[in-house]
């Protein structure tokens, strides 16, 4: 896993002119991604494009140098990620003479054999750029669910791309400015809606898409889509048959992800998903698995007892980092620097502390349980959709809304009045066919953050419709699916790729040069789960039923029996009051907030004052608003008002060369 960057340049320039005009821009871009690839950094000045690469060596440590080119055609690649089935692919490409044992060369060979459609054969997590000098085309591609990031900017000088937006700024392709609509997205959907990002002019290549850049024009197309339609479901499947189907494909997904020339460890949250992954991995590894966990000093967030129970049962070598309230505040500037987005939760920070712990144990690859909740219907959101759908059939029923009291027993008023439940959960009940039916309650609740917008900002974004922005990104057939399937498609397109895999995933891992691997997000697992009837995934109101069956005997019974425990981290107690870091006192003031212009400085000061009281009981809305304001101010501060410079040592480390490394050539 690594970082990539590059841009198109005019063809036919002499090498010296290329170096003079573009060498330092390429160097700055790659240097800004040093954290993603501390093992080697290289820029290749090609005739028509510049490719850059920062390498985290995991496969073929000696020979997998990048950017790599095929000596015969000159086709060159800069590749971030993993193609886990590269050994099988290699065997299917007899026409190519392999010179290395690296997966990067397999990508090159597959591209030469099939063109960009080679991505359809890849089982993996990847973002890559291929320069094909034969037709002067730059190809960009991103994996099916958006595990690896890829951004681009269309500029007057050419098209630039990079693993993180900061590289586009470092290369001087555009100046960082907040995308105001992206901010509106973030305070409703938890993340900007692809292709929008938090920065004006920086676009994300959507997951499951390839882009073709030719003569300065970018054309994109989707190469994979998940079919969640009724027609794809094997209705007659029994729970036992479903369990066996999942076991086979998930076990293979784990096995493929243990392929590496360095040790592979795992994250362990103490819940079902990561425990199951750890159990499957430990069986394959024969007892050498290392596990890593976050513990919280505050008991209400802490899961250490369950983590320890699983680690003991599986016989793993277990490591824990304990996170204090103050750590969450102290980590937030780094979280925003790496994550490059506005947040409504503080939960990514502890993952940055966790990847640091992994790195301290000289480990650079971890498996995680991410994705199971999306793929196997684990979230409360799916239950809520099911109850709302049931209720919508008899909207006047006084009994049906009472199911929410069962679903959310911790809501203090929920037991008391069906009218309250109706007001809170009954949004859009008259239109259960609405495309966003499943997400209306969450998006409306999160959207309360918008009340903190400044008057000017609110006026500028008043006409922007978040729901329409989401709809435009989903394949049109989604509208015709059943509500649970629509909910799943929306969840994967917004929260999963936009937040969990990026701000809380890739960026928090790569911030300490650690690669995450996600067996539940193997597209074969996702497709197998899509063929299962909903009843084996969400059995009544029991989530992930088939995974629980599968985990019996592999994972301690206590873990299977415990109610789902949402992963969260402290907010108000971390950002206000005695534990608050110095930067909060500087940035969460009326003048600072007003200067950025997104939020109303007066309201923010009142919010901080309210939460600072010893008797404060922060509501969900207060907490989300506080994180949204803090991360917006941190983003503006670190990227716009006082941008961080790329360290000289990182600039010096980059090797700028007049061509790519021929496969099997010098390192």
């Amino acid at each position: 896993m690594c970082g990539i960057a590059g841009f198109t340049i005019p063809q036919g320039l002499p090498a010296a002119a290329r170096r003079e005009r573009y060498g330092e821009r390429g160097r700055a871009m790659v240097a800004s991604l040093f954290h993603r690839g501390p093992d080697a950094q290289r820029v290749s000045l090609l005739d028509g494009a510049v490719l850059g690469h920062a390498r985290l060596s995991i496969v073929d440590l000696a020979q997998g140098h990048q950017p790599m080119c095929d000596p015969e055609t000159g086709v060159a690649v800069a590749f971030n990620g993993e193609i886990f089935n590269w050994l099988e692919l290699k065997a299917s490409l007899p026409g190519y003479r392999f010179r290395t044992t690296s997966d990067t060369e397999v990508l090159l060979a597959a591209f030469l054999a099939r063109g960009i459609d080679c991505v359809k054969d890849f089982v993996g997590q990847f973002a890559f750029a291929v320069w094909d000098p034969r037709d002067a085309t730059l190809w960009l591609a991103r994996d099916r669910v958006g595990i690896r990031p890829l951004y681009l900017a269309r500029t007057g000088e050419g098209v630039a791309f990079a693993s993180e937006a900061k590289a586009l700024f470092a290369g001087g392709w555009l100046a960082p400015r907040l995308d105001e609509r992206g901010v509106v997205d973030a305070v409703h959907l938890w993340a900007p809606m692809t292709p929008r990002t938090q920065f004006d002019g920086v676009e994300a290549l959507p997951p499951a898409h390839v882009a073709c850049v030719k003569d300065g024009v970018v054309t994109q197309r989707r190469y994979w889509a998940l079919d969640l339609s009724d027609g794809n479901v094997r209705r007659d499947l029994s729970m036992d048959e479903a369990k066996e189907a999942v076991r086979a494909v998930l076990d293979d997904a784990v096995t493929l992800r243990l392929r590496a020339d360095v040790p592979v460890a795992a994250y362990l949250s103490g819940g079902l998903d990561s425990s199951l992954i750890c159990a499957l991995a430990q069986r394959r590894l024969g007892g050498t698995l290392q596990t890593f966990s976050v513990g919280f000093a505050q008991a209400r967030y802490d899961e250490r007892a369950f983590q320890q129970e699983v680690a003991t049962a599986l016989g793993t070598t277990h490591h824990v980092v304990e996170v204090q309230d103050a750590d969450v505040g102290a980590l937030l500037p780094e979280v925003v620097w790496h994550g490059e987005q506005v947040l409504v939760r503080s939960a990514p920070g502890p993952f940055l502390a966790l990847s640091r712990l992994v790195r301290q144990h000289r480990t650079k690859v971890v498996l995680t349980g991410e994705g199971a909740d999306e793929v196997f219907l684990g979230y409360d959101l799916y239950k809520e959709t099911k109850v709302r759908q049931f209720w919508a059939r008899q909207p006047r029923s006084p009994h049906r809304p009472r199911l929410f009291a069962r679903l959310y027993p911790y809501l203090p008023l929920s037991q008391q009045s069906p009218e309250v439940l109706r007001d809170f959960f009954g949004i859009g009940l008259e239109h259960p066919e609405a495309f966003d039916f499943s997400h209306q309650v969450r998006w409306t609740n999160t959207g309360r953050v918008a009340r903190f917008f400044s008057k000017d900002f609110a006026a500028r974004v008043a006409a922007y419709d978040v729901t329409e922005a989401v709809r435009a990104q989903l394949p049109p057939e989604v509208q015709g699916w059943r509500p649970l399937a629509r909910a799943q498609a929306l969840e994967m397109a917004t929260l999963l790729s936009g937040y969990l895999l990026s701000a809380q995933g890739d960026r928090m891992l790569m911030g300490n040069s650690v690669e995450g691997r996600f067996p539940f997000l193997d597209h074969r697992v996702i497709e197998a789960a899509a063929r299962l009837p909903d009843r084996v995934k969400l059995d009544g109101l029991e989530e992930k039923a088939v995974l629980k069956r599968l985990a019996r005997g592999l994972v301690p019974d206590d873990v299977l029996a415990r109610p789902k425990f949402p992963y969260r981290a402290p907010i108000a107690e971390a950002l206000v009051g005695p534990s608050a870091p110095e930067w909060c006192r500087a940035l969460l003031t009326k003048p600072a907030v007003d200067a950025t212009g997104v939020f109303d400085g007066g309201k923010v000061e009142k919010l901080v004052a309210k939460l600072a009281k010893a008797t404060a009981a922060p509501s969900e809305a207060d907490n989300m608003a506080l994180v949204a304001v803090a991360t917006t101010e941190l983003l503006a501060h670190q990227f716009i008002h006082a941008p961080r410079a790329v360290p000289q040592a990182h600039l010096d480390a980059v090797s700028v060369e007049d061509g790519a490394v021929p496969a099997g050539g010098r390192g």
């Binding site: 809501l411 203090p412 008023l413 929920s414 008391q416 009045s417 009218e419 309250v420 007001d423 809170f424 409306t444 609740n445 959207g447 309360r448 009340r451 903190f452 309201k603 009142k606 919010l607 309210k610 009981a617 922060p618 509501s619 969900e620 809305a621 608003a625």
Partner: protein, 79 residues
């Protein structure tokens, strides 16, 4: 001395950061106040208006808009 209506409106604006709403608007339906906020509201009624709110009175007809609150307080003898 400001009226209960004005004091309630001031409390809502200062505590929940919303001021562009009508006196008849439902707090819950319009996401002005959530369930945590309802507890804050009840605490405010008890401390500032010196009324006791029984569990059975924690219903939207009493609490879910400025109009409902004013009527509820009137029943409790606050005008």
């Amino acid at each position: 001395m400001s009226t209960p209506r004005e004091r309630l409106r001031g409390f809502i604006a200062d505590t929940f950061f919303v001021d562009d709403f009508q006196d008849g608007d439902s707090f819950l339906r319009n996401r002005i106040i959530d369930s945590t906020g309802m507890m804050e509201l009840v605490a405010f009624l008890e401390s500032d208006f010196h009324v006791k709110v029984a569990d059975a009175e924690l219903v939207p007809e009493n609490l879910d808009s400025i109009d409902n609150l004013v009527a509820f307080l009137a029943k409790k003898g606050v005008a």
